[in-house]
């Protein structure tokens, strides 16, 4: 198992397919039955392994406070958003998929592997994105 960025998204970046700040970007949780395959293109390719549970809506949560930041000091740019929380939820998830919900095909962006199942029980399930963002382009 692994985390990764989908190949089609890499191509999309070069073809100005996404506007990650203005598009609706979703974060969805997946069970341990999922696996990262860089050749997957669209949310529908992996949605069969989406979790279900109290406090979780199919399709995932909308990523808030999205930013794209150019860092001239470190010669890179980053995409970031607010931490994602499913409040008062009962969820067991192994992966988080990020996809562009505005794109007609709900194009996949990347997948994060938690390394093991993570569980909330009538509590908050939060993904704390890294201080450097969700994605870096170096």
């Amino acid at each position: 198992m692994a985390s990764g960025v989908y190949n089609e998204f890499k191509g999309d970046v070069l073809k100005k397919v996404h506007d990650l700040v203005n598009d609706t970007v979703k974060v969805a949780l997946l069970t341990s039955s999922a696996a990262f395959d860089a050749d997957n293109d669209n949310w529908a390719d992996i949605s069969s392994n989406e979790v279900s549970g109290t406090g979780y809506s199919a399709g995932g949560a909308t990523l808030g406070s999205k930013t794209v930041t150019v860092d001239n000091t470190n010669d890179r740019a980053s995409f970031d958003g607010a931490d994602t929380t499913w409040s008062t939820s009962t969820i067991t998830a192994r992966f988080a998929a990020v996809y562009d919900d505005t794109h007609a095909s709900d194009r996949l962006i990347c997948l994060f592997d938690f390394g093991s199942n993570q569980t909330s029980s009538n509590g908050d399930f939060t993904i704390a994105w890294h201080a450097n963002g969700i994605l870096l382009l170096t």
Partner: protein
Amino acid sequence: MTVPVIPAKAEVTVHPDGSQSVRVHVDVLDLVNRFGIEEARKITGLNIALPPNS
């Protein structure tokens, strides 16, 4: 691009009422396959350089 799984840094809190919250910390993904460089720097304490034209 795939990257190795770094064990999740998950903070699990069990509340007095028996409910449980989890906060999962994930690492940034590098779009051009430079993932891990900063973690590697932290682990080794070395200023690992990126290849030219990266």
